[in-house]
Symmetry: C2
Subunit: 576 residues, 2 copies
């Protein structure tokens, strides 16, 4: 590609509404252009990157035996009513009426559409397993679109859907997709991590997220550097921090702690470590079908944080909410800040985190304003609690697989694989006939990659103060040739053209910057855009028979004989 | 591709709602699957064809210097309000509100979006000309979607938009696109014709349609077999059928023609040729801004048909409608069937078609029920009329370029190129600075190809009673290998695999049918799907060292030595 036949448009400053680095750099590099809130034009420079991402995904999906098709953007509401998602999904589901007043949605995903295809196309176990995917425009009407492609409304997603005859088959299809995703992210040249995830509202029995590692990531990833264990914060199991409970060594005593509502302040006042304190969190479960309203007290060690996903899995707490202050006063006789499990006004259900359950001589609120209890011990001062994993893990916790301690890093979710089971096939009556001619529900899996989000995530991981540093596999161009004074020097023109043609002939994705820009502006553009390999052709170097090569990452100039540059570049590309 | 790794799903019968052959065959061949009214899933077999069509378009657009980008499906209403299309377009424009109640549209085309990009990106004449295109999902909420991909609601379109500094530049950009379209349709391997078209509501100064020739086409194409002249029926100019008017030779007389309301019946009764009669068409133009309502009488020769696009271009008739029966009685004193230009009750404006203006001694209604006038002559019996081209051409008419006579064939519109001029740049204030630093409006052109419609049109042109006959360039596969008894014969297995690998290595897009179907079912499938080249590997042929080749079009079997088949196929493909 010659730059004068392409469209290059860079900006010195990012627009004011660009908050994060990837959004700023994509806008400055002319890769995207805002059309509306959360809706972007993909400019020529951005589209090249998207196409490379899509092609890698397509190749690996095909290799894994998935079959590409294309489902529509606009889909009839009836299908979404069959599965109940028409009602369950909130305003992020974009709804539209046609000229006859019939309801449609603009697809955020395609579980319903593919299940509709499969329930009429798949009749026999002989046709299974099968896995269909498409790469298509999606829409989610985010309440507050921001961060460019990271939380836009219109985006491109690859979504695949596997169908199997039984759970064993589903697990195999799932593993094939998990492996394909691993290949895809490796080929992108990005640092990534797959973590076990909670299935959440989508239901089903197994799920992993694929994250691009980046300090700016929204999600905390938990992993064990000495084993395979990895999970997201919602799903990472927290073990008790001690194997067993020490014997009680102090008597329970009430201590004045006026104005000290936080564990940190109480510990400081009493000259105790924070790890000797217990914090109280009060939840309510509203009355339902004859059951009365319940108030629950959850206990965490003072330095720990509540994990709401884990809470929702405690028997009886699926529909919990945080209690109101008036409910707290009613049940504890005291306002928040001094609450504890000993001596509540009305009975509450107590659940202790695994670590709290093994504590002895701990400190908690006395259910009296300005007072805490010290030397509290299970069994002696209060009944043994229900025990559950309620907290977020922290770095240094033991790994649940017993093979080391946990570390935490930040990530950006770019892929997600789910075992859905019969969640959709049941509602939509998607069955096949087994060997005995009996109809059986299809076992379904779904597998998504946020194509456009990859761009933002890749940049959050790979940039410096000059701009983006693309991994070669998804760079808009692999190589840029920057001639110095092409208009003045016949030698520069000739060697530039020779190298350009040699690289094209070798199948290298090269752009020749023939715009006639000054060297400073030209280099700044390509450093901002992030092309990983640059060759400078100039009279000074040519006098010594050399061209200058600079890698975008690293940046040290290497002087290579003219005749060897094409081979040098190919060798660098082969290293990736 | 191995068939067992792909998804093949054929039907013996087309669904009842498939009215035309291309819709029936695409459904039967498992290329599309209905999701909703006018909304289709592109099944794997169909998507392969779409991708081939897209790739040819992309290559030729790039070669012509157009630059690919991607504009969103969902676009803010504000842009469409700027150009007035938000109000002007009817319910075929799909409108949607987001969660905040803001208006959006699902794009049917992208003139507004690209003009919004260009007005901020193009600042100087130095950046011109420029041509951006995208291949993207479109939506038109057709009142009555039908004919499969021919008149669907969601479809894929390639739309390109050129921007130039002046009309000369626009004409050049337009010609480049016209030539690129010619290359594209040639590469598809389809018979097509480019015809001059009326610009219609979109405005501007020049336009051509590209049609795939098919007897089942909705549009009549007019062309001159001995010259370059070609136009669609709306735009084809009809010359007068005689150079000058003959002298009057009969006196005007009133003749009883009871019950004969049609020219054909009057001519038969009077024993005159139909070409001696004149038919009357009454139009109304409603009162507007001080002007009173006008009634117009249009006169056509008895065997000719009215062309409403031409009528709307007659000065004063831009907003015509057909007159009601009560208006006709009020102005002519007579009901339709016996109307004419002589002796109306109230004054009407008379416009004669060019051919009628040169007629002498003609027959028309007498404005009295049951009577016609014969021997009517201009100037003597009634004033000289306003003359205009009002009729559709017919085969045998003189070509407007004077180089032969016109022929008519049917076509399906699949492409359209327009010179838009400043239609959008004016409303959206899209300007550039010229050499003198003065802002000037951009001259715009737009160029569309209906990607998914190509599939329907190609089939309407290429099918037989067995199914589809794809041109090789856009066939889902170029070659199918059909092994006979692969499970029983080691020789068949070996030679099948050898040929398959040889063709793959040669870059041939080949599918190996390893499903184990019976030969009859297997051949029927591939004839229905329309793969253009078939090789049969069977023990009978192998005994003589031969494989059987059959072209989908033609169908005579050719027996080719095993070792030569790969080369034979490549030679056949090179012929295309």
């Amino acid at each position: 590609m010659r730059a004068t036949r392409f469209f290059i448009s860079t900006l010195k400053e990012a627009p004011a509404d660009a908050e994060i680095i990837s959004h700023k750099l994509m806008m400055r590099a002319g890769m995207i252009k805002r059309l509306g809130s959360g809706i972007y034009n993909y400019m020529p420079m951005g589209l090249r990157i998207i196409r490379k991402v899509e092609n890698i995904i397509r190749e690996e999906m095909n290799r894994a035996g998935a079959i590409e098709m294309l489902m529509p953007v606009v889909q009839p509401a009836e299908l979404w009513q069959e599965t109940g998602r028409w009602d369950k999904m909130g305003p992020e589901l974009m709804r539209v009426k046609d000229r006859h007043g019939r309801d449609f949605i603009i697809q955020p995903t395609s579980e319903e559409a593919i299940t509709d295809v499969v329930r009429s196309e798949i009749r026999s176990y002989r046709q299974l397993p099968v896995n269909f995917y498409h790469i298509q425009t999606k829409f989610r009407d985010e309440r507050r679109p921001r961060f460019g492609l990271m939380r836009g409304r219109e985006f491109t997603m690859k979504d695949a859907y596997s169908f199997d005859r039984d759970v064993d088959g589903l697990k195999k299809s799932y593993q094939i997709m998990y492996d394909a995703y691993t290949s895809i992210f490796q080929r992108f040249g990005l640092q990534f991590r797959a973590v076990a995830a909670d299935n959440g509202a989508i239901g089903g029995s197994g799920s992993h997220e694929f994250h691009v590692i980046a300090e700016t990531g929204e999600d905390a990833l938990v992993y064990c550097p000495t084993s395979d264990y990895a999970a997201n914060m919602e799903a990472a199991e927290a073990l008790a921090l001690s194997d067993s409970r020490a014997a009680a060594s102090a008597a329970m005593a009430k201590t004045a702690t006026p104005g000290k509502e936080k564990c940190e302040d109480v510990a400081a006042l009493l000259n105790l470590p924070l790890t000797a304190t217990v914090k109280s969190i009060v939840l309510a479960v509203d009355a339902d079908e004859g059951k009365e309203k319940q108030i629950w007290l959850l206990l965490l060690r003072g330095d720990h944080e509540l994990n709401e996903v884990k809470v929702s899995k405690v028997a009886g707490l699926a529909n919990f909410r945080f209690a109101s202050e008036s409910e707290i006063v009613e049940y504890f006789g005291c306002k928040p800040g001094y609450l504890g499990p000993v001596g509540t006004v009305k009975p509450v259900k107590v659940v202790a985190d695994r670590t709290v359950a093994n504590m002895a001589d701990f400190v908690c609120g006395a259910n009296e304003e300005g007072y805490h209890l010290t030397g509290v011990n299970w069994g002696r001062d209060l009944p043994e609690p229900v025990v559950a994993d309620l907290r977020n893990v922290v770095a240094g916790d033991l790994s649940p697989d017993g093979k080391g301690v946990l570390a935490i890093q930040r990530g950006i979710e770019v892929g997600h694989v789910f075992q859905l089971g019969t969640r959709y096939s049941e509602d939509m009556k998607a069955t096949f006939l087994d060997e005995n001619g009996k109809p059986q529900l299809l076992q379904m899996g779904c597998y998504g990659i946020g194509v456009t989000r990859i761009l933002g995530a890749a940049i959050e991981q790979n940039y410096d103060d000059k701009g983006i540093i693309w991994p070669t596999a998804i760079a808009p161009f692999e190589v840029v040739i920057c001639p110095m004074g092409m208009d003045r020097s016949e030698a520069v023109r000739t060697e530039t053209e020779n190298l350009y043609q040699a690289l094209l002939a070798a199948g290298v994705d090269v752009i020749l910057d023939d715009r006639g820009e000054r060297p400073g502006a030209m280099f700044a553009d390509w450093e901002l855009i992030g092309v990983p390999h640059r060759v400078v052709v100039g009279d000074r170097g040519l006098k010594e028979g050399k061209l200058e090569y600079v890698a975008r990452r690293g940046g040290e100039a290497v002087h290579v004989p003219v005749a060897e540059m094409a081979a040098f570049i190919q060798a660098r590309l082969a290293e990736q």
